[in-house]
Each structure stands twice: as structure tokens, then as C-alpha cells.
Amino acid sequence: MKMKGYTGKILKVDLTTEKSHARPFDEKHARKYLGGQGFAVEIVYHGVPKGADPLGPQNVLAMAGGVFDGFPVGTGGKVAFAAKSPATNTLAESIMGGSIGPELRHAGYDALEIVGKAESPSYLYIENERIEVKDAADLWGKDTRQVPEMLKKRHGWDVKVACIGVAGEKLSKIASIDCDDRQAGRAGLGAVMGSKNLKAIVIRGTNDLVPAEPKKLLGIAFRYQKIYEAAPSFIEDTKYGTGEFLGWINKEKGVFPTRNFQESVFAEREKIDPYYWAPKYVTKNKACFACTKPCGKLFEVKSGKFAGVAIDGIEYETLYSLGGACGNSDVESVARANELCDLLGMDTISAGVTIGFAMELMQRGIITEKDVGFKLTWDNASDAVPRMVEMMGNRRGFGDVLADGVKVAAKKIGKGAERYAVHTKGLEPPAYDVRGMKGHGLAYMTSTRGACHLRAGFYAPELVGKFWKWEGIDRASTANKGFMVSQTENFMCVYDSVGLCKFSRGFYLIAKLPEVIEAITGLTFTEDELLKIGERIHNMKGAFNAREGVTRKDWLLPPRILQDPIPEGPSKGQKISVEEMNTMLDDYMKARGWTMDGVPTPEKLKELDID
């Protein structure tokens, strides 16, 4: 049987030779890796030679639309990018909701593999079979809104554009890729594009996408539409965006990292809580491609010193990173800093955490006003945070020290700064204080791309107390966390491969995915088969990382999490001790069938058919 839904082709473009080639893949490949993250990880796993410089021409940038991309599945339009990360030296993926994934499939390709390095600033133009590497001299130095505008004027309003900002050009290890004001932010994949002299990927696709069972697919879509509309989270997300649970995380749970993880309750949290700001600043709802549960908000500042700011935001993670983590309670300043991150092409999480880190260093006298050029202090956050973002993106002054994230900054600064650098594997953590959520702390360590809330999504089971088949999950306990995290990691690999937004995982538990996949592709899967694919994808990332020498010794939690208990609030006194960390890691390795050093065994790889 010929599989439907897929285009059946992967496009490889060599920027050095400007040659391209579309290779077909068969049903076996689809059954093994599904699509999206699975395809992207496979490309990087097999394409990047051992020891390759992440910012050298040998690195491979992969982009792949999920199985659902381009089809009417609510919230199912996500696209995966992957490469060897310059921030972590590991195989890192970053997923975004921009329309470039579905467009790639309409152009006739399920995945894109970009290798080599263009001689001079270039952009990649794909219009169905027409593939060109074009001159981007006039785009270099432009921001992530100017670039698509210029390219759309040139190639028509219908083209889709993914691009980098100045931060990516300047190889910032926290640089992001932007499409439709959405970002693949994490792990510095924007710098990989920059290192290839690739300013933008422009796609125009006009081919049909044909599902196996159109009527059935439309029926499923309608059923989920009704489920969404009746869900409380639909109403909350639509009104307040992803920040809707910021108050709860602060007041009820006390795990909102504040002032570089020195506190876990932000006393001024109401000022950045969307329940309070949304009515004033939100002028419109925004959605990713195919999203029928829109959490995007158009946030506009109409007056005052930040007048003119207009962003798709502010997301929960950014309210933390450029807000709480920097002690910044001025929501207009957070919005401006967010806008600058987007325009310059920097991950808001990494940028904010890095600034918060520098602010603590100034608090402790490790750096001074003379080093920075102005007061990078908690009481001056409103001015200082956007100012520092701008300097980082342009690598100006002290911004150059911070432009590659906390790990590199701590090393450059020295004087004991590393004690206050919060990261795992070189990636700055998202908005959960894992001292009060031990399993999520384990997930920060085991995440193949460094501290991440979405590789396992384990904040949800621990904060809510139940998930899937599990009840009574205690966030203060280490029991069974190794097994549970390994399972939820497999889950998440599946969601990223079908292209489904993780905010929908409560609606589409794994058992519900096979009917959707079948309606699109005609391929049948069981829940166990899907989880096996997830396990395969995670093991490939693990094997890649072990090959690059990134093993258990490099996974460990930073001193702040291991040594400083949470000082106050509902999670007061909690931390993760070294013993607890090691217990959880041991349990995890056993659950994975890996060595105690975090290396996938040859038997495991053989079992999963990974070569």
C-alpha cells in the first residue's frame, strides 16, 4: 500500500556547492521515525560527523514538518528544527508553530537537510522543484520582521519565511530562528544558520496534500473542535495566553524562579500576571498555523516610554525569564525586552536567565557598574533588561560577554561566577524551580538539549499530581521518577514527530493519536508502537550525545539547585540533594537500559534498530 499524507521526499541542499537533491523515503522510514522531530533527529544523527564543530560547515541543519503538518488537525502544525547545538554540543531540536512546516510539505518535501556553508550571506529559496541559493547581502543586518517583509515584497505575499536576526549572524549561542513571530528559540540553532551564512529559508509550495481518508479526517477534526471549545483551558488560554497559571505557580506551588533562582515566589507577580495585564494590553488573539486553541496574544503598548511595542506574547516562559528571573515587574519593559529578543533573534528564556545571572553577580559585587556601563540591578530592571538585551543581540560592550548564555559568560567573568550560573549542559532553565519538583529536576538533567521543560514536560504531572496512568505523583519525592521521566520523554518525542502542540497533550493522549495518523497516512499504529518510536528517537539523541562525549558527568544540576534550599513560600526548604540527584539518575539509567554513565548500550540500540 502506498502511504498517503506524506510527500515521500527529503530535500538536501548543500550551501557550499549550491546543489540540491530530493531523496525518496519509504514506508519503513515513516514507520520508524514518523516525521517532524523524528525525521529531523534522524537526519542530524546520520549526517553530522563525530566531533564536528557546531558552527562549522560540517554541521547539519534539519527542518521537518510533523505528520499532521498541513492537515486540519487542531494545534497540529508544528515544525521541528534540529542540529548539533553550539550551546550544548549535543543533538538539539527546537520546535515552533510557524507556517513554514506545512508550506514545506506543500512544496513537496517532508524534511529539509541543509549542509555546508554559503560563501557569502545567502537565503534559500524553495518553490516546489525550484531550489535556489540567493544573495542576501541586502538582508544581512536586518531584523526578523524586516526580512520577511522584504522577501514577501520580492517573492509575493504567499511565501513563508523562516529567518534569523542579528544575534544569529553574530553566532550568539542563544540565537533563535523566527517564522511568523514564532520562534524555534532553544539551544542556539539560529547561530547554526548564521554560521552557514544562511539568513533565511523562503518556501512557496503549491502542491496538493492528500490524506488517506478526507471525510474521516474532517470528522475527527470536528470532534476535537468541540472538545477544545468545551475545555476550561481553551477559555483561559484564549483570554490570557500561556501565562494563565503564573499566579498559581507562585502562590500555590512556590516554584516560580525569581531573581536568578534566589527566590521562588515573585512578590510583585501580580504586575506580570496576565489576569491583570491582558485586559489592558491585549488587542487581538494570534494563533500558529492550524491552531484552533489560540494562546497567542497581540500585546500592544500604546503610550509611555515603551509605546509602539507590538508582539505576539508575552508567553509564560518570557514573563519568567525577562520578568521574574530579572526581578522585572514592569510588564511593558518585559514586552519591550521580548520584542527586542524576537527582532534580534534571541531565545527569551536564555537571554532573560543570562541577564538575571549577571544581575546577581552585580548584587554580589563580582561585576560592577563599571564593567557593564550602567546599573544592572534589581531596582533598575525596567530600564536595564531591555537595554542589556539590545547589547547582547548586537554583541556590544558587556553584551558580548553575555551573548552566549550563562555557561560561557560565567567562564569569561570568572571570580567564582560559576557558582551562580544556573544551567544544565549549557542551556538555561525554563520557568520552573526544580528544587520543589524533583522529577522535573531529573528531566532538566536527562533532556538531551539541556535544561528544558518540554523534552519530558514533567512539570505537568508533578504540579497536577497525575498524568496518563499515574495518580498521586508527589513532586517532593524521588520515587519512580526515573521511570516516569523516561516514559514522558518518549511521549514528547511522539508529539514532536506528529507535529502536535504540547498544550494539546491532555486532549490527545497517545492512545488517541493512531486514528488521526491513520486518517492522514493510512498507516496503522498501536499506542505501544508509537511509544517505541518515541523511545527510538530519544535513544538516537542519547547515542549522539554520548558519542560527542557528553555523558552523565555533564548532566548534573548546578550548585544553586543542589546547595541552596528554596528560602520561602509554599516550597520553602526544598532542594535536590546530591544523593537524590544520583538516585534519580541511577533509576533513570536503569529504566532506559543505558549504562550508569548515560550511554545507550549496543543491545538497546540494536533492539531499537538504530545503526
Binding site: 486540519p72 505575499w157 496534500l209 478526507p214 487581538k284 494570534k286
Partner: protein
């Protein structure tokens, strides 16, 4: 009371689900160019749907009047293309003020799915509503379309 598609640009999130639902319903496949309505995204601030108004908005019946072979007709207030007579010259596509007359081998347009429009069913934000025509909403879309050129 005659009912038509009425666009509410202020509610549109730009998700384009309506376009996909439209083509899959009519053609069993997805191609945004064949959607009988079009969603436009212009930067971070502007998203809006453009729908076939069956020329109730201004009554000028552009496509009907401009068709050189009189293949476009009106019946019960609905514009439709006589597939036998259409020569695919593209004149109607050119003149449609909403950019929703589509062309494959022949011209075609919105048929309101026979009275239960699929796009309306799938729009979660009520950016397209099936109701009594509202000329002021059509004017909003015309203005937005004019800006992009």
C-alpha cells in the same frame, strides 16, 4: 432572511484552519490556493479572512458582469460558475474585489457548502459567521486588502 458568510477580521487569529477545512470538504485534499475563502496575515498585527460575499456587499456583481461568455450567473442570490460555459479566461479572478474567485481548470467559487458552511463550523473564534450580510464588515476586508497592495 438570506444568510451569507460575514467576516470579522478583529477575531481572526490567522490559523488558516478554515482554508484547510474548505478544500478538504470540497476536494478531498488540501491546497490553500483552492480554498473558496482566503486568510491573510500581514505582520504581527493583522490577520483577516476574505470570503465570497456573492456580491451582496455592494451589488455590483463584478464577476457576473465581467464574464465575457456569461458563464457566471446568479440564482437565489448565489453566484455560481456554469462549468460547461466557462472558458477559464481568468477575467473573474482579476475583478473579484475579495480575491476569492478561484481557478483550476475552470473558475469556481464558494457555494456555502449547500447551506452549512464548513469554514464557519471550524472557526473557533467566530471570525467567519453565517448570518445576515453585514456590508460594514465587507468594507473592513476591502480596506485591509487594499493596504496589502
Amino acid at each position: 432572511m438570506v444568510k451569507m458568510l460575514v467576516p470579522y477580521p478583529e477575531n481572526c487569529t490567522g490559523c488558516r484552519f478554515c482554508e484547510m477545512a474548505c478544500t478538504i470538504y470540497h476536494d478531498g485534499k488540501i491546497n490553500h490556493a483552492d480554498a473558496r475563502l482566503q486568510v491573510h496575515r500581514r505582520g504581527v498585527k493583522v490577520d483577516f479572512p476574505s470570503v465570497c460575499t456573492h456580491c451582496v456587499s455592494c451589488g455590483e456583481d463584478c464577476c457576473v458582469l465581467h464574464c465575457p461568455v456569461e458563464a457566471i450567473k446568479k440564482k437565489d442570490g448565489m453566484v455560481y460558475v456554469d462549468q460547461e460555459e466557462c472558458t477559464a479566461c481568468g477575467e473573474c479572478v482579476e475583478v473579484c474585489p475579495f480575491g476569492v474567485m478561484r481557478m483550476e481548470e475552470k473558475a469556481f467559487n464558494c457555494d456555502l457548502c449547500g447551506g452549512s458552511p464548513t469554514c464557519v463550523k471550524f472557526c473557533p473564534m467566530k471570525a467567519i459567521v453565517y448570518e445576515e450580510p453585514k456590508p460594514e464588515q465587507y468594507e473592513k476586508v476591502k480596506k485591509l486588502l487594499a493596504v496589502e497592495e
